[in-house]
Amino acid sequence: MRNLWLFISKYNAFFLLIIFFTISLILLIKNNSFQRASVWNSSNQVVAQSYEKVNEISSYLSLGKTNDSLAAENARLRNQLATSFTSDSIKQGTVRDTTLKQQYTYTVATVINNSVHQKNNYLTINRGSKHGISKGMGVTSAKGIVGIVLNVNENFSTIRSLLHSETKVSANVNGSIGSIVWGEGNYDPRFAYLKDIQSHLNIKKGNRVVTSEFSMFPQGTAIGYVAETRTSKGDNSLDIKIKLDTDFATLDYVYVINNILSAQQLSLEAQNKIE
């Protein structure tokens, strides 16, 4: 006890500081609304921030689920897009109430296997005939076209990527139609070539390239933009280098497009061949 008193009296300045400083602080916080509010606010801030951090981490855990639901929602919304519908009215006929009829439906799918560095690239998706996928359907990503369904089994489909020497997609740039090719001396997954555009046409760098009405994609689906143009050797058409919108290396979610009217179109066209 004596030692304690000695200790306190030796360092009395410090203890006096603590006593008077505490009194001052109590006075300060009790009597000044700003400081009082600050004390409570800062403690609330600490609490809120810790909650926010925990929330951030836990939201990471459910990121996959969130992605799935968002992609499903996108597919549902795309089903309602104007480009999914086709005009059904007869030109000289009377105006009807139901002018639009669904032509395209979208099915969301996850890419489970992907390649970009081969000469002929394929993708595999986790949707198959069970989900209404059939051969020849177009596949797009959120940014642009991806490829064409090649083979289907019950639960999976393989897609012939646009990065394949046999994939040819009819494309439209500034109103003129050409075809997109990849793999003829060009193996960069970021670029493709647009062929059969007449050289007198004024195609400039940066022009948008979209699908034409002759492809299995809805007309106007994004493909990319013109990166470079030059006259090809031998004929009077342009070799147009196209920067693709779709980043094939990081494909995750794709949409399979079902053209409801394509069966009718194909059967009609098949009749021509028989004749």
């Binding site: 006096l16 500081l17 008077f20 001052s24 006075l27 300060l28 000044n32 600050s38």
Partner: protein
């Protein structure tokens, strides 16, 4: 002894009046605000017991707080100031050599010592005062600039006061 009490009381009243009625209205864009009244705590005699020093500092601060409507703020700053004063004097003043010297003044202690003393103590006071006034870490840079500018202002006012009133005691 009585003389010391009387002179200090007069000094207290004068400094308080100057602070509350004159210096309260002076300031440079809320950036540099003088608090000359702490000169009273600075110039209390060397021999003052610690508890009395703390009590006087506390009530000086509290008096200012009544006028500034900031109850406890200046009291807290002055308490810290008293503590720093004890530390500083313990470190720099030899008890035996200066016990006969009554007060830490410019004229008695010399210019170099006094300006160092005034600067350290004023800075500690202003540091507590302005940080507790802003009471958040969000404007740290602004608060620090305020502390520095105000310290410079207060110290220069202290030097002027000391030179004006206590020149004749210079050894």
């Amino acid at each position: 002894m009585v003389r010391v009490v009387i002179t200090n009381s007069i000094r207290f009243v004068l400094l308080m009046a100057t602070q509350v009625f004159l210096l309260k209205n002076i300031g440079y864009y809320n950036l540099s605000i003088p608090y000359l009244y702490i000169l009273f705590i600075l110039t209390l005699p060397f021999g003052i017991p610690n508890y009395l020093l703390f009590l006087l500092a506390f009530f000086t601060g509290l008096t200012i707080d009544f006028y500034y409507d900031s109850l406890g703020l200046n009291a807290a700053a002055c308490t810290v100031l008293a503590f720093v004063r004890i530390l500083f004097i313990n470190l720099t003043v030899q008890r035996d050599g200066f016990d006969n010297e009554p007060e830490p003044r410019l004229g008695i202690m010399g210019f170099q010592w006094f300006i160092f003393y005034a600067f350290i103590l004023t800075f500690s006071h202003h540091f507590i005062l302005f940080t507790f006034e802003s009471f958040s870490f969000s404007e740290l840079g602004y608060t620090f600039i305020r502390i520095l500018m105000s310290t410079l202002f207060t110290v220069s006012l202290m030097l002027i006061t000391e030179f004006a009133f206590f020149q004749k005691k210079l050894r």
